[in-house]
Symmetry: C2
Subunit: 434 residues, 2 copies
C-alpha cells in the first residue's frame, strides 16, 4: 500500500494558514484530508479539506476554477454533496486534486490565490459522513485482540484454526453508521446474565472498539477479484471507527452466525478521510507474521509485508470529569503496525469470491490491540471482562461504559520528524437507554 513520495510530502512545506503549521496539530499542509460539511441544518452538504483549524471550501474552489490540472470530471465530483463520485475516479485524479489544493494553501502561493479561497473555521461547521456507505465490513485483523477475546469466550481454543490462514471478517450494518459527535443511546437487548433465563433490558456491558476504517475508491465488478498487489489503487483513504458493542447481547446471540444486534445500534466514524497519499511516508516492515506461521496462499501474499505506523489512542471522560473541568483520561495507546492482517490483504480476501466493492464502502480493521495491557483497544480486554476495573480521575471505577461517558479515538503518524499526519477525532457520548 506504500505510494511513492513527491513534493506534496516535503516536510519543510508550510501553509499561509498559520494553524496548519502547529507541530501538535493533525492537519498540516502535508495531510489535506477530505470531508463533508455544512454550516446550516438545511443546507446542501459540501466537500471540504481540513487545513489547521480551518476547512477549505472545495466546492467553491471548484466553482471558481482555481484548481489547475484537475479535470472537469473531478471538478464536478468535488462539487457533489458526498465524496462517492470523487472516490470513484481513482488515484490520478485524486493526486491532481491534492497537488492543486496543496498549492492553493502553500505559503509561497499566498498572493496569487488567497482571494479565491474560502476558509471556514472548523468550529462553525457541522461535519457529516464523508460518503454514502453502501456496505460496511468489519474484520478481526489484530491477533492480540482475537487471542484475548477468544480466551474469554472459548478458553479451550482462543484462536480458531483458520485465523492465520485468512482474515476473518463479517458484514456489519451500514444504516446505523454515524459521524463523530453523534450521541450513542445505550441499546436495549436480549441478554442472559446468569446463563439461565434470558431477559430484555438495557445492555450492562457496553463497550467501544478502537478500529481503523478504509474507504473504498474505485470498486470492482461482481465476479472480479482485486489482486493483493493492486489493492492500493482501490483505497481512497482511512478514518477512525468506533464499533460500539453490547458484550452481553453479543455473548448470548453470536452463535452460530456471528455478532448481529450486539453491533448494529451504532458505529461511529471520524469525519476526515486521510488519503493513502498523505500516509505514504509512514509504512514500516510488518513484524506481525513470524517464520513459524503457516505460509500464505498466493492471493494473500503482498509484494512487501508492510504495516502502517499509526499511533492510536482511546480516551475517556465521565460526565463528572467534564463537570469538574478535568481532562479526558487516556485509556489505551497502540499501533496499527501491530496488525496481523494488512489492509491490502483485507481487500484481496474480501473480493476473492468476486464480491463487488463500491466507492465509499467501509472496511474496518477490527479492534486494534497490541501485545501489552495498555494497548488493548476495547474495555472487554482492557478490564479483562470487567474483572480488572480501573479508576478514572473523578474517583469512579470503570469495567464497562456508563451513561454520560464520552469516548474519543485519535490517531496519527509522525515518523522521522515529519509533520504529524492526524486522523482527527472520533467521539461519542453515551445516553441512557430509552
Amino acid at each position: 500500500m506504500r505510494l511513492p513520495l513527491d513534493q506534496t510530502h516535503d516536510p519543510e512545506r508550510r501553509s499561509w494558514v498559520e494553524s496548519a503549521n502547529d507541530p501538535a496539530g493533525d492537519f498540516p499542509i502535508q495531510n489535506l484530508p477530505f470531508g463533508v460539511f455544512r454550516l446550516e441544518e438545511h443546507e446542501q452538504p459540501r466537500i471540504g479539506v481540513a487545513i489547521g483549524d480551518r476547512i477549505l471550501d472545495v466546492r467553491r474552489c471548484a466553482e471558481r476554477k482555481v484548481l489547475p490540472g484537475v479535470l472537469s470530471q473531478a471538478i464536478q465530483a468535488l462539487a457533489a454533496p458526498t465524496l462517492n463520485d470523487f472516490m470513484a475516479l481513482g488515484r490520478p485524479q485524486w493526486s491532481a486534486a491534492r497537488l492543486a489544493i496543496g498549492n492553493l494553501l502553500d505559503v509561497r502561493f499566498v498572493n496569487d490565490c488567497k482571494p479565491h479561497v474560502t476558509l471556514i473555521p472548523m468550529k462553525d461547521a457541522q461535519m457529516l459522513l464523508p460518503a454514502t456507505i453502501g456496505d460496511y465490513t468489519d474484520f478481526y485483523a489484530s491477533i492480540h485482540h482475537a487471542t484475548n477475546v477468544g480466551s474469554m469466550f472459548r478458553p479451550d481454543q482462543p484462536l480458531m484454526p483458520n485465523y492465520k490462514h485468512l482474515p476473518v471478517g463479517y458484514h456489519g450494518r451500514a444504516s446505523s453508521i454515524v459521524v463523530s459527535g453523534t450521541p450513542v443511546i445505550r441499546p436495549m437487548g436480549q441478554i442472559n446474565p446468569d446463563d439461565a433465563v434470558p431477559i430484555f433490558g438495557p445492555t450492562r456491558l457496553l463497550d467501544y472498539e478502537l478500529e481503523v476504517g478504509l474507504l473504498v475508491g474505485p470498486g470492482n465488478g461482481l465476479g472480479q477479484r482485486i489482486p493483493v498487489a493492486q489493492a492500493a489503487e482501490h483505497v481512497f483513504g482511512l478514518v477512525l471507527v468506533n464499533d460500539w458493542s453490547a458484550r452481553d447481547v453479543q455473548k448470548w446471540e453470536y452463535q452460530p452466525l456471528g455478532p448481529f444486534n450486539a453491533k448494529n445500534f451504532a458505529t461511529t466514524t471520524s469525519p476526515w478521510v486521510v488519503t493513502l497519499e498523505a500516509l505514504a511516508p509512514f509504512w514500516v516492515p510488518s513484524m506481525a507474521r513470524s517464520v513459524d506461521d503457516p505460509p500464505l496462499l498466493d492471493y494473500l501474499k503482498p509484494p512487501e509485508p508492510l504495516g502502517l505506523d499509526l499511533t492510536l489512542e482511546v480516551s475517556l471522560s465521565s460526565e463528572g470529569m467534564r463537570k469538574q473541568g478535568m481532562a479526558p483520561m487516556t485509556v489505551s495507546r497502540g499501533s496499527f503496525a501491530d496488525m496481523f492482517w494488512t489492509l491490502d490483504q483485507l481487500l484481496a480476501h474480501h473480493t476473492s469470491t468476486g464480491c463487488n466493492l463500491r466507492p465509499g464502502d467501509l472496511l474496518a480493521s477490527g479492534t486494534v490491540s497490541g501485545p501489552t495491557e495498555d494497548s488493548r483497544g476495547c474495555l472487554l480486554e482492557r478490564t479483562w471482562r470487567g474483572t480488572r476495573p480501573f479508576a478514572l480521575t473523578d474517583g469512579t471505577e470503570r469495567r464497562f461504559l456508563q451513561d454520560g461517558d464520552e469516548v474519543t479515538l485519535t490517531g496519527w503518524a509522525s515518523l522521522g520528524g515529519r509533520p504529524r499526519i492526524g486522523l482527527g477525532r472520533c467521539t461519542g457520548i453515551i445516553q441512557p437507554a430509552r
Copy 2:
C-alpha cells in the same frame, strides 16, 4: 401481520386482461405485485404492476392521471425509477394505489379506462431489482433447517441454547444482490477440503438456499424500536430469495464471526414484490412453537401466532436436460407456515436495539425447510452434505450444484379456492469459475 380483507380480495373478481384469469397463473387481479422494469438497456427504469402475462406501466398511469384517490405524493413516488419512495409512504397510500390499479384492470371498468392503460408483454421487458437495498439481513428462522445444519457442523449441539429465545440473524452483503435471471459465477475461495492445508480454488460445494424476503416500507429512526404488534405497518411486501452459498468456504471461515465470503458473491431475488395486502387471506395459526418451548419475552410476543401459508418449491435443470428439452425437476417443496420465527418477530428483534431500518431494506427468512426430507430447502440438507445424492432426469447425479445448472424458486398461496397469489420466479444459472 394479517391485514383485513376488502373488495380487492374478492375471489370472483376478474380482469379484462385475459391471461390474469388463468387459475394456474401467479398474477391475477387479486395480486397486483410491484416491480421495476425497462424495455431498452439505456432507458430509465420504471415501476410496473404484474397482471397475467403483462406489465401495467404504472409510471404512465401516474402521468396520465388515471389513478383516482391516489395522492400526489404517491403519484410522484410511482413515477420514480425504484420503489423506495413509494415504500416509504406507508399502507394508506399503498392501499389507495392498489385499489385504483385494481379498478383500472377490472373487467367491469374496461370501457372507461382501457385507452389510458399501457400494458407491456412480460417477455419484452427486462426486470430490475425492485428497490435500492440499503442493508440486507438474513435470518435462520426455520428450526428444521437450523437443526439439520447444526447436526452436521456441530453434532454434539445441533441447536444452540439461544435458538428458541431469539431469531438468530446476521448482516449480509447488499452490493451483490442481483435480480432473477442474472447468471451466478461459481466463486473461488479459500477452502480446506481435507482439514489439513487450505487451498484457493473454485468452490466444490455450491448450494442454493430457498428463502422468503421481506422488503421494508417505512423505516424506524435510529434508537427507535418497532413493536411486534406494529410490525406489519413496516412491511411493504415479500419476494423470493436465493441465498447462494459455498459450503466449503463457509465451513472453513465461519468461526467465530459467522458466514462472510461463503455468501457474499451473489444473492438473487425475484423481481415482483407481492404486497402484504395481497397475502391477507393466507394467514393460518402457527403450530411452530409447542407448549414445551420456553416462553417468549414480551417484545417477541405477537398478538396472535400466525404463519403464512405459502407453498415454496425448488426446481433444477442441468444444461443437458435443457438441451434435451426436458422439464426442470422439482427438488423440494415446503411451506412457509412451518417457520419457527415469524416475520413480525424478525422485525421486532432486529430493531430491539434501536437499529434503524430504511425503506427497501431486505430481511430474508433463512432457508425454509420443513420436517420431511422432500421439504428441505438447500442441497446441504437435501443430499445430507452430499452423502445422499439424487438423480436428475438426464441420468446425472447431484450432491451440489454443477456448472450449467439452473435453479428456480417459486412460491404461491392458494388457500380455500381463492385465486393463486404467486411470488413469480427467482432463477439463476451457474457459470464456471473465472
